[in-house]
Amino acid sequence: MPAEVQNRFLDPAVLAGISGLDLVAKTVVDGFIAGLHRSPDFGFSQEFAEYRAYTPGDDLRHVDWNVFARTEKAYLKRYRGETNTALMVLLDASASMGFGSGPLRKFDYSKYLASALVYLAHLQRDSAGLIVFHDDVANFIRPSARQGQLLRLLHGIDRAELGRRTDFRRPFFELQQFLKTRGITVLISDFFEQPGKLVETIEPLRFRGNEVVLFHVLDPRELDPKLGGPALLIDMETGEAIEASAEYARTEYRERIGAHVEELRGKAQAAGLDYFLLRADRPLDGALREYFTIRQGRI
């Protein structure tokens, strides 16, 4: 199937019509992998680690033929993935994630993203876990590579419900208790919080040798609100009401949300956290491909 056709299928509006997170995750990841030029070297844990001498029984596809040509000795490429990295997905289920101007709410989009990530980890035989949180931990699935783990994770993601406010401190405190081994922690949220306070809360995870990736999911209308005229806006988390004009939304609000994104990106990078902004109207496979391209280039 041509890539453009696949991309068309992977539009968020199309994903919304697919029943079952497993199918969504498979569709996204298959599409994502199909679009890669060097698919074996992609993924969370597929970074090159070392060469190992060939021993009978090894898969000949992993032999580095360039080295063989120079040395007449067969070596295999070894990847970090073969050290069983643990992937922990933290999914924000606060009320603000229920906002959506298109066919998908941010929360649905985030669920698809989480599903795709755990499915990708499953393909690479990494262990994967899940924490769904709002102002408390709503669901926790311990990281594992056991058989049936993928189904457990997808079920957990599917069952996740929106809560009320976001409070990063409590779930992260608990998370620190759960994370015994080094791994990759992926945080999917809309991050309606002061960037300084947010990074300050998440930063300790990094100290333990974890890689932390922040997926900042925002709806297009959050970045560029279209108000027909003066509007009474109700905060989905706090219930606070405020009158806003279309002109303010066109000018000052855009500047403020832009500054917020940039501040969060800057502070995250300063703290050694990966940051990636995702618009909820963007094809998911394309977004993942871009993220992993950036990630590979940085490493």
Binding site: S96, M97, G98, F99, K106, D190, F192, D219, E222, P225, K226, L227, G228, G229, P230, A231, L232, L233, I234, D235, M236, E237, T238, E240, A241, I242, E243, A244, S245, A246, E247, Y248, E252, Y253, R256, I257, H260
Partner: protein, 662 residues
Amino acid sequence: MGFLSPWFLAAAGAVALPLWLHLLRQYKREPQPFSSVMFFERRLQSSVKHRRLRYLALLALRIALLALLAVAFANPFIWRTETIGGHRKLTVIAIDRSFSMRYEGRMQQAKAEANRIIDGLHGQDFGQVAAFDSHVENLTQPEADSGVLRAAVDSVQPGDLASSFGEVARAMRVLSQSSGMDLDVHLISDMQQSSLPPAFRDLQMGPHTSLSLHQAGKSDAPNWAVENVTAPARVYGEKNTRVTASLAGWRTLGATKRVSLVLDGKTIATQEVSIPANGRAQVEFLSFGVPYGAHRGEVRMQPGDKLPNDDSFAFSVERSDPRRVLLLYAGGRPQQAFFYKSALESASDTGLTVDSEAIELASREDFARFAYVVLSDVGDPGDTLNRALEDYVRRGGAVLVALGQRSASHGRVPISGERFTEQRQAEGVGFLDAQHAALAGVAHLDNVQVFDWMRLQPKTGARVLAKLADGSPLLVEESIGEGRLLIFTSSLDNSGNDFALHASFVPFVAQMGRYLAGGEETPSSVTAGTPVALRRTREKGTAADVIGPDGRHELSIKEGAQALTFELARAGYYEIQRADGRRTPIAVNADRRESDLTTIPAETLALWRNTGDTTTGAQPSGAERQSEPRSLWRYALLLVLAAALAESMFGSRYLRQERQAA
């Protein structure tokens, strides 16, 4: 201001509707859930103020629309003071500026009379000044400022055209209809009888028009004039020429005048002539030797009189060698040129000689050197020669094409390319367009028999100048670019007809030769007001030019590139350069009808005066005035319409913005 139906004003209460729609309803916005309002601020400007500003224009328009509608139905009126009797009055001062007004003191008298009329206008009365000769020119619009009217009167100068009272009457009828005002026409003129139209009814003034006639100068003043001069426009070869002048006196006593022939300012000959009382005399200057080139001639009569401009008559004359005509014949048949050459050169006044040449040698010729070209049954001239000839015609040249047996095999007319078929049956000549310049003076060709001729279908726009008895074209004229193409559908020798054996062949060939050489367009003198053709078509080509009597270029560059004709309005010598490159000197003289200063009988003037509405002019400007209500509902309705249009424009604009925002 008041209202005839004030109860309708109660409907103005409907303005509350847009107020409610704009101010109250706008507050009731449905709350919208939003993920986080942390980036919004609680500021008043972001809501109420902005909303009010945004819809202010729309609100104002809607209120205005409803209020104006109520006002329109309430039928507002104002009190207005008006003169009883309806129309407003416009005083028109029409001043004669024809040639006869050059008579000593007449124009000054006319201006003084005009200023006296202006002095009599009241402060709010409107006046308008016009000058007339053959045409009427309005020098001002209806104007209450007497200074403007006086300036217009001062600007009037006598010209060289004849006056026409019929034209004045027509212009006043038009002005009466277009202005809707009562006209009080003051016509100031020397009241020449020659200015009257042929029919008295053409002097009829329109309704609501009064006519006052003011005579400038004495009635029936005596005047002598050089009435006409007969002189050739062109002289060829070494021959001497003759100039004849006609002198006339109107209401004059018998007198002896000294008449001089002047060429380029030098007196060539002088004669004493006795002019009988109120009569005419002829003067003849014989053996007049004209030097080579173009010259300005003049017949001058002395002593002069009080109208000096008609005491001389200008003419132009040009001496040159005879112009050459190129006759091309088919190779080996030089006898084809015999009849045409003999006929053309036997007509002494054409100034044309014929050079005959085989067509095979013609490709080296520069056709522009010849007066015109004759293709005498040449058959197919070939592409190169055909293109060269077409280019020559397009740039102003002239070609006569004769079709004979040799052409029949080709089947196409050279240059124009029309197809034809050969016919071998005897036909007489059925029709001759003697009004056309190419055949002017040619008698009917009764006995001519054409037995070998070509039947062709003339192109659209072509003109058939002569036909055979069965209606087939015999002579056809086509215009190509700036040039002329004449097609004679038989031969010019005796092989296809017996025309060359008849005496009528000579004037036929001579007149056609003059026409093709362009000589018919340049008389030695013309009357002022005569239009002259500058080009045949508006096709892009060489610019035409006109140098006036004072030596100035009369046309702008744009006019020179586009104008088809030019009116020679002033007396004197003009130099015309046509678009086809021909340069022609033309002498222009004032219309000699103006020299007869006989005035219109008093009873005729009284009749003319009575064709106007005599009550109009008598109405004093201080007529009884009274106030009456004037309704304004139409204006209010127009404002309603304007407000509705503006509201729909604003409304659709806001709606579009809302949609875009949504």
